[in-house]
Symmetry: C2
Subunit: 202 residues, 2 copies
């Protein structure tokens, strides 16, 4: 069995517990379950793998949120209580309480911040680093604080005292600053749970 | 006398207490003092107004920050104690204590957030609105919280209990969410102070 999570930038592939990230999709000979937030990339998957099953059509999830992305649903599905942070091109921050989704926010991913600063002025350059508690005293520190620090500020504000679970490309790095647990396969855990529920019904 | 604050996007003009914002600069017959963070736009000013005086060469300002933008210096110069927020293409958040600059951060402006979300995916659309205390329950609310909310979160974190002064294109709008005072001519106040100091010396 292969699980494919189609993001805005990459195809994220789960195969026997191993995860890889591909720019281009390939043909698989095994059964494929997928989710997608990018219709162009979804077409690429289905062209090479026409029997792939879209789990969106089968997932059960309790929320009042209108239009919640399927990747956010899957990341949240395996968490009963806590804050779920998926840090990719965008960063989503969702709150789960007793298995019910209570709402969430979307901010920019770390790379998107960098790109956007570069568009404003070529002098706004920086490298990401752990945030110092002192106020920044140069441009690089000031931009790091204004991007990584903004994401961290939102996560901590939403989380309050709740447990934080981080996933996605920048999840591991964010977990160095935010007091939370990095779970690489959080989206895939939700997909596996959905497949299990589907099998129990049939 | 005319004061010109050349930003990344616009020429901000002060003339007899009135402020206007121009995409293109014009010829003035009065004495011009200016500051600039954009060398291309500075050339346009000097081409039409070769006698314009750059206040950067005369300003006195106490800080350990390396490479502090001249616009930030001017906005901070007239504030003895408090947090100075200049909300333009970028948003700068600086701390002043007893007339000394203690450091500051740079985050994205509200328009830059919008642009950056649009680049990630065309479905990430929203309009800015006052932030509700409840967790967002749709994409537009989630993006508003993740952009405006990120800026507000950083300002409040840096400010703690200090007084907040807001200026710049989005300063008035931000002052509806952040508990602070909007001062339209904050940068120009610093420029006027610099000119006064210059006159007292000569």
């Amino acid at each position: 069995m292969v699980l494919v999570d189609i993001g805005n930038t990459n195809f994220h592939i789960w195969q026997n517990g191993k995860i890889e990230h591909l720019k281009k999709i390939k043909r698989f000979d095994e059964k494929i379950y997928y989710i997608s937030v990018n219709s162009e990339k979804e077409k690429e998957l289905l062209k090479l793998n026409p029997e792939a099953v879209n789990l969106k059509d089968y997932v059960k999830f309790d929320t009042d949120y209108k239009g919640l992305g399927i990747d956010r649903i899957m990341a949240c599905k395996s968490i009963k209580d806590g804050v779920v942070v998926d840090a990719g091109s965008a960063v989503t921050i969702d709150v789960m309480e007793k298995g019910v989704h209570k709402g969430g926010i979307i901010t920019l991913g770390l790379y998107a911040f960098k790109q956007a600063f570069g568009k404003i002025s070529e002098v706004l350059k920086y490298e990401y680093a752990k945030i110092d508690k002192k106020l920044p005293l140069n441009t690089s520190e000031a931009l790091n604080y204004g991007s990584l620090g903004a994401v961290v500020c939102l996560i901590e504000k939403v989380a309050e005292s709740k447990e934080i679970f981080l996933t996605g490309g920048d999840g591991k790095f964010l977990a160095e600053t935010v007091k939370g647990r990095y779970v690489e396969d959080l989206v895939f855990q939700g997909m596996l749970l959905t497949i299990e529920e589907l099998r129990m019904e049939n």
